[in-house]
């Protein structure tokens, strides 16, 4: 008898819970890792944009942040499946491994849930759009900024990260193409390394010792600048332009080791992704092109303090 009551009670509770569906639009956001400040900025951006849309358009958007603590594409794929099962209205993802995430993205889209990529794309998937940096353009901009600070002459080395990463190859290509516009600038070579701050800093030191004639570094990623005292030369003797403007990198701008940092729109990874999802889910509008280009913002000694204030807003309060 008791057992029958218990079973009936349980089924009633399950049924009651089943009919208590709310009308909240849940947008799942799956970034690469919680340990990287750029994704904390994206999280703040997504949450701010949701609040803005909730106020301005009377939407009821909730951000469900499902990012692994360490980079793990398998966990990202599982998170996308969980979001689909939990009724997310849309998903934004920065792919740690496009190969591993393509099926999960396609499954979400097949279930009627739009997916947008930010920062890192899954080009073979059915995602609605990708918001990120144009890598060839990024290479061009890095070189043109470096040419400016080198007065259009000198010897340049490219710090290039992992030689097999397609996006980095495109950036190197952009640097080399742009350098052709400056006849007095010679590209020495592109130097590859394991993408850790220590390996990158060691590579810079090693190359500088072998080639003291270098007068400029085009760093298509900011790897060595994520550690202190990575650049051993006196500030200003060698000009440096690097991609990204994370809090750790800003000190190099202040002390004159680095002349320009090219900041990716990391906060906008969140805001634009939420906008793209809102437009698709609520207004049934797709972007005109599946690639939504993010700009690179030059940060110099002149505007570094102003830019640094952004990180105070973007990063969680300690």
């Amino acid at each position: 008898m008791i057992r029958r009551f218990a079973v009936t009670g349980f089924l009633s509770l399950v049924a009651a819970a089943g009919f208590a569906a709310d009308k909240t639009l849940v947008f799942g956001v799956v970034a690469k890792s919680n340990n990287n400040p750029v994704f904390q900025a994206a999280k703040t951006g997504a949450e701010d944009e949701a609040k803005k849309l909730n106020t301005e358009k009377k939407a009821n958007i909730q951000i469900d942040w499902r990012t692994p603590n360490e980079e793990d594409p398998q966990k990202q794929a599982d998170a996308i499946e969980q979001l689909v099962n939990n009724g997310a209205a849309g998903i934004a993802v920065s792919c740690s491994d496009a190969n591993k995430l393509t099926d999960a993205i396609n499954k979400a889209v097949d279930n009627g849930i739009p997916v947008v990529c930010f920062d890192s794309d899954a080009p073979k998937s059915k995602r609605l759009a990708n918001f990120g940096t144009d890598d060839v353009d990024c290479g061009h901009k890095t070189m043109s900024e470096l040419a400016k600070v080198m007065n259009n002459k000198g010897v340049v080395a490219i710090l290039a990260g992992n030689q097999n990463a397609p996006n980095l190859q495109k950036r190197v290509q952009g640097v080399k193409e742009e350098a052709k516009k400056y006849p007095d600038i010679k590209i020495l070579d592109a130097y590859y390394h394991k993408e850790t701050p220590q390996d990158a800093a060691a590579k810079v030191e090693q190359v500088m010792q072998a080639h003291p004639e270098i007068t400029g570094w085009a760093m298509i990623g900011g790897w060595p600048l994520f550690t202190d005292n990575a650049l051993k030369f006196a500030p200003g003797t060698v000009k440096v332009v690097a991609v990204d403007a994370l809090p750790a990198q800003l000190g190099y701008l202040r002390d004159g080791h680095v002349q320009v940092l090219l900041a990716q729109q990391v906060y906008e990874w969140g805001t634009t992704s939420v906008d793209l999802l809102y437009n698709k889910v609520v207004e049934n509008k797709s972007p005109p092109s599946s690639f939504v280009k993010g700009e690179l913002i030059p940060i110099t000694k002149a505007n570094v303090e102003e830019f640094a204030k952004n990180w105070e807003k973007w990063l969680p309060k300690k």
């Binding site: 349980f10 569906a21 990012t67 793990d72 594409p73 499946e81 099962n85 009724g87 992992n162």
Partner: protein, 387 residues
Amino acid sequence: MALPGKLSFSKFPEGGLILAIIVLGLVLAIFGGSVQRPKFEIRDGQRQRAIEVTQEGLKIPASTTVNKFFNAQTLIQIAKDTSFFAIMAIGMTIVIITGGIDLSVGAVYALSAVCGALVLNHYGSSGGLGAVFIGVLVTVGVGTLCGFLNGAMIVAFNVHPFIITLGTMAIYRGIAFVQTSGQSIGDFPEIFRDFVRHEYFGGLSLVPLMVMIIVMVIGGIFLSKMAIGRKVYAIGGNEIASRFSGIRVGRVKILVYTLSGLSAGIAATLSLGYYGAGSSGDGSGYELNVIAAAVVGGASLIGGKGTALGALLGAVILQVISNGLVILNIPQNYSQIVIGVVVIAAVLLDQLNARLAERRLLAKTGRIKKEVLESSEAPASATQETK
């Protein structure tokens, strides 16, 4: 594993784990709320979103409301997410029963996946059954070989498994990195991916679940029904006594580490089929989840205790907690804290249970002793009364 007579949790070693899963499930089913899922139908030979007409005559996409936890998709997804860890946890449990540990299991998983991925990628998406056979053989074979090397080094150098497997963890992952230069390897034979991802009953991927159950059954038979399984427990119980009783401890140890590698190879094969790529970063940190699953499942780190079913249930508990946090909309940052608490609680409960069992045994021994004494005194007093 067998349940003699009437089902009783107290007599069933894994009863507590099953009870914990049922309680967790009830909590999630009741407090998890519900979710609206789109309805699909086959129109013109294609799967399309079903349309329903409202009372006002408007045509809107049809959807159905289901409980967030208690629905087939979520339950199968939990089983699928569990399967990779559970398979490795079964291998790890066998190692832990001998009093050992395998910290390299995540790296073995990565190296197996990378080697298998390179072979499968060589044949490309049009590869046939032969390509799949070779790819699977390489994946499982590399895992088994890595496990064998772990065991052989532990026995040959007579060094604690913690040290050897800590070293091989770095070596195996390093080899995986060198092989791939850190890149993801995909583009496998479609036939392989279709098999592992095949969806039954309208969207349920059951292959990982079925493989997990098969591994659990084989692991259970190995440990509880085969002589070698008893030797594994004997070594964990008392290695010196086992040696003196004629058990070839070295051989058994090599075997258990080989089985741990084999289980990592099987999990890596499933991962390649399900996720469609392998990279040197695969399985980073998984060793801790796998050890946690084994411990929560009742394996004792001092050896001599643990079951294959317990390992599977331990992995299920951790996965249900992890998914439960998502279902209950609790920020996932708390999941690691919760899992850590669960592992410590499981070990404490295990110790408490061991102490209670010891007390029960002492009490029972005392009772028997008393009864024996009483029965031996009774005839004597009866003889005196007669006199």
